[in-house]
């Protein structure tokens, strides 16, 4: 039965390493095929390994791989949905228009700028808030579990519902919750204000509701990171009479640096994918379209409302390149830290 052993040469504890490091211990198992050539179990493994992987891999290729390749191809053509004309080869024309044609590049560049604004505000705001909450909740207090679930709760709310709740809170009439609260604290000096419809506050409104919904997710990840810091470090710091700030700077921050970077990068990737709330609020929520349209919104309306598949594909390819760049940076930054 020895042939089944994946790596006789590897020390036995290598395989039992915790899941965190499992990805990096891939090498020892790889040396498997060298031992015992031409056995029946190995051939059997080959067939069954392929069979077991086939359904999922086929699904991924069919619904991710091929469509992705297709997006690249479509972006080189002038394809319109429901048009009697056959698609014609366009080369890089779609991309050129996207960045230089005044009619098309205006909304597109505005969408890119909106995405950037959203990310630049949301990433530090949400990460900072999540960190503050995680530190507050990382105590041995009674009912701490209740508080943790309260802050996590909005994460399970579908974005379509979140958009509706906040549409009411930010309603433009003087009877909207925020407006009437401001009316009360300003002794009647505040009247009606159109938070969603005013181009100056539209993006801020989307940011507030997005952070509200998403911050619990980041909080939980950071909480898991905080709990991996050994308690002795805090005891030692306390013995050295470190102030709370010093303990935060020299124990907490270094202890969760990797997690924090990961959370910030994850938030930036997710923030580029923002779509649902913007779409719902623009279609029937009175949200200012120009100030809040995102790249994905632009792609969907181009494909769906204007039936311009080629143009929409070019937008999604650009979108993909941005997200991949962010993801690769994330992996590059997070990896070295996990090594130790």
């Amino acid at each position: 039965m020895e042939p089944v052993d994946p790596a006789p040469a590897a020390p036995p504890d290598r395989e039992q390493s915790p899941p965190m490091t499992a990805v990096k211990t891939a090498r020892p198992t790889r040396s498997g095929p060298r031992s015992g050539p031409g056995n029946r179990p190995r051939n059997r493994d080959r067939l069954h390994g392929l069979l077991m992987s086939a359904p999922a891999v086929a699904g991924l290729v069919a619904f991710v791989g091929i469509p992705f390749g297709y997006a690249v191809v479509l972006s080189f053509y002038n394809v319109r949905l429901g048009s009697p004309m056959a698609p014609s080869f366009f080369g890089l024309e779609q991309y050129r228009r996207l960045f230089t044609d005044p009619d098309l590049s205006g909304p597109f560049l505005r969408a890119l700028l909106n995405n950037l604004t959203f990310a630049v505000v949301v990433v530090p705001l949400q990460t900072g808030l999540a960190l503050a909450l995680a530190i507050l909740l990382n105590r041995k207090l009674k009912a701490i579990g209740l508080f943790r679930s309260l802050f996590f709760m909005p994460v399970v709310f579908p974005m379509t519902l979140v958009a509706v709740i906040w549409r009411l809170i930010l309603a433009r009439s003087d009877q909207g919750l925020l407006n009437s609260a401001l009316h009360a604290v300003s002794f009647g000096n505040w009247g009606a204000f159109d938070w969603l419809g005013d181009s100056a506050t539209a993006m801020a409104s989307v940011i507030v509701l997005s952070v509200w919904q998403g911050v619990g997710f980041q909080m939980v990840i950071l909480l898991a990171g905080l709990q991996q810091i050994p308690g002795e470090l805090y005891e030692a710091a306390e013995l050295d009479r470190a102030t709370p700030w010093q303990r935060f700077r020299h124990v907490t921050l270094p202890g969760i640096r990797g997690t924090l970077v990961f959370v910030a990068m994850l938030t930036s990737v997710l923030s580029f994918r923002v779509f649902d709330q913007v779409y719902v609020l623009i279609h029937g929520g009175g949200l200012d379209e120009d100030a809040t349209r995102t790249v994905m919104y632009q792609a969907v309306t181009t494909a769906f409302d204007q039936n311009n598949i080629g143009q929409a594909s070019a937008i999604t390819v650009v979108f993909f390149l941005i997200v991949v760049a962010l993801t690769l940076i994330q992996r590059r930054v997070v990896r070295p830290d996990n090594e130790d």
Binding site: P6, P18, P19, A22, R30, G32, P33, P41, R42, R44, D45, R46, L47, H48, G49, L50, M52, S53, V57, G59, L60, V61, F63, I66, P67, F68, Y70, A71, L136, R139, L141, S149, L150, F151, V156, F157, P158, M159, T160, I165, L168, I169, Q175, G176, L177, S180, H183, W212, V220, I221, L266, V269, D276, Y279, H283, G284, G285, A303, A312, V323
Partner: protein, 288 residues
């Protein structure tokens, strides 16, 4: 005397700090939960009282009329029954979660525990496809499946195979000691029996966390239904929510009752599996 004061002072300070912690947490939690309270209270109010400023925040009398209307009276117009939308959403989520657990765990097992040439290449392909966000294939998928619009299966099938789920299972299976499989093989079990009879039962945590994350994502799915579904008879709940809230004039009480009913299944799942929920999110994210 000196010793008692030095031990007592920190303790009192500790108690004060604890009270301070609770105060800060309570204020924050209240502000945080306010929108949820607004949703709940609003759903129990007559519609004309929902947009009623601060004074109307606490309703004078509560009733479940809005819920009754959403559940029963919706069939008076062309949008169909609420239960129909709920059923579509549940069906799609069920297919995606159960099908996904089956297909993705099996693939991860095949790639992490069975030795065959090319498995590294296949796994690398999975990792590469994990980089592709759904948003960037939505438009070509929409174009490819244009003929299958307004069907139930087109809402579910593309999401069954999931690269991130495979990755999560793969990471977990790698940590299982090989001696377990050796023992199973000595007893004459093949790879399939080893997987289903031994590996699956001992991998409950990862199955739970993948199931929860998949369900959560699928329940709120919006982009794909917006593109693919226009027919109310196969419309999932979140899409109907956005249609319902866009009607003119809006009936706010009913819209909020609809919202509560939309989130209720997830909230029930969340409260039952709260610990797993939070752990699932934390573990999968830290490892990702």
């Amino acid at each position: 005397m000196a010793t008692t004061t030095t031990t007592r002072a920190p303790r009192r300070r500790l108690r004060l700090r604890r009270i301070g912690d609770y105060a800060v947490l309570s204020v924050l939690a209240f502000a945080f939960v306010l929108p949820v309270l607004y949703l709940l209270l609003g759903s129990l109010k007559p519609s004309d009282e929902v947009l009623n400023g601060l004074s109307g925040f606490l309703p004078t009398h509560l009733s479940f009329d809005n819920y009754a209307h959403v559940l029963d009276a919706l069939n008076s117009d062309s949008t169909g029954y609420f239960w129909r939308f709920m059923g579509i959403s549940l069906l799609v989520a069920f297919v995606v979660v159960t099908g996904g657990l089956f297909v993705n765990s099996m693939a991860a097992y095949g790639m992490s525990r069975l030795k065959w040439r090319g498995r590294e290449a296949v796994f690398t392909l999975v990792l590469l496809l994990m980089l592709v966000p759904f948003e960037s294939v939505a438009v070509p998928l929409f174009y490819m499946f244009n003929e299958q619009r307004n069907t139930v299966y087109v809402q579910a099938i593309p999401f069954v195979a999931n690269a991130f789920s495979i990755y999560q299972f793969h990471t977990f299976f790698r940590s299982i000691p090989p001696s377990i499989e050796e023992a199973a093989r000595l007893d004459g079990a093949g790879p399939w029996r080893t997987f289903f009879a031994i590996i699956v039962p001992m991998s409950k945590p990862v199955f739970a966390s993948v199931a929860i994350l998949t369900f959560l994502t699928q329940w709120g799915a919006f982009l794909w239904p917006v593109l693919m579904v226009s027919d109310p008879s196969v419309r999932p709940l979140p899409l109907e929510m956005s249609v319902f809230q866009g009607q003119q004039p809006p009936d706010w009480g009913q819209i909020l009752a609809f919202g509560v009913l939309l989130v209720l299944p997830v909230l029930i799942v969340f409260s039952f599996f709260q610990r797993w929920f939070v752990q699932g999110v934390a573990s999968s994210a830290v490892k990702g």
